[in-house]
Symmetry: C2
Amino acid sequence: MAATAPIDADTAGTRHQDRMQRKKTVIDQRIAEAAARRGVLLVNTGTGKGKSSAAFGVMARALGNGMHAAVVQFVKNRTDTGEIAFFRNCPQVSWHVMGEGFTWETQDRARDAAAAQSAWAQARAYLNDTRIDLLILDELTYAFKYGWLDLDTVLADLAARPPMQHVIITGRAAPQALIDAADTVTDMAMVKHAFRNGIAAMPGMEF
Amino acid sequence: MAATAPIDADTAGTRHQDRMQRKKTVIDQRIAEAAARRGVLLVNTGTGKGKSSAAFGVMARALGNGMHAAVVQFVKNRTDTGEIAFFRNCPQVSWHVMGEGFTWETQDRARDAAAAQSAWAQARAYLNDTRIDLLILDELTYAFKYGWLDLDTVLADLAARPPMQHVIITGRAAPQALIDAADTVTDMAMVKHAFRNGIAAMPGMEF
């Protein structure tokens, strides 16, 4: 084995600087190439925690930029959540809880489907409204899993939205055609979850 | 092949109801078993979009429940983001931007390390403060990747926090010992990202 010379702090610092400068060159090039500005379609899918909360975090960011946002919730039916209590006071937000609750609570497919269709009518109104900069369609993906909505109709409505409008769709098992249509897709995988280890859903964390 | 009898809507509805009732039994049992109430440690890691925004979405939920929160940012150095503009007006939030910016921008490891150590001193003050219900340590994981902080010290400080305090840690490549210590871990995998397809980082979406 070849002997290696000891590396003093200055040399290590210079190497770090060289490596970071090369990284900066690559990243600056990528930033220069990413010049298109238009409304994006984000999909937060997967089995882990964070799909809806990431959408609400982006909404906070958008509101801080002076934008206007709307939320349509397709499954949840609680109106006493922390997120609603918090955002309700913000005049830039319109919030619609339009679900009937979890499918295992309603146990009524026809009622679930009717609720989803009403929710989509509300969503479509926002997809035609240029005043809305960000539209969150929370738990929309379940409407495809259970056959409550026609995916092609939804994709056509999304494609026809105002060019600068951003949309975030959340929910498990996003269908492939939705992923294909999206600009940014994150699969939020559950590595572990407190609930599975006997810890209750707590206010501030889960609702 | 055996002929199957046609299924009328009533039969399908009954089958759906039966299946959902069985699902409800399982889920109700799980909820009954998850009775522990204590502060949880969440880790949002992975290469995809949503790690920090999910933390801020949970914070909105916590604030809506009347809780108090603090944010310490370990890498980011921008103070003109939408999230800061939005949450700055909320008296329940303390926000500390303590990073020096991306490593490829500073190109100075000693400066990055000193900044991370100052940020950890701030974090530790909150980890000793029972008035803080939720502490967000944004992009903390990079401190381990680059050797700015000692992981065992950080884990010991986290373990000694008030029993009902929730903590959310974000950043890529969370070390295994941090994952082991956490209650809930989500790996946010990038399926696709608008930036990689030539779309600029836009206000309201990325900052």
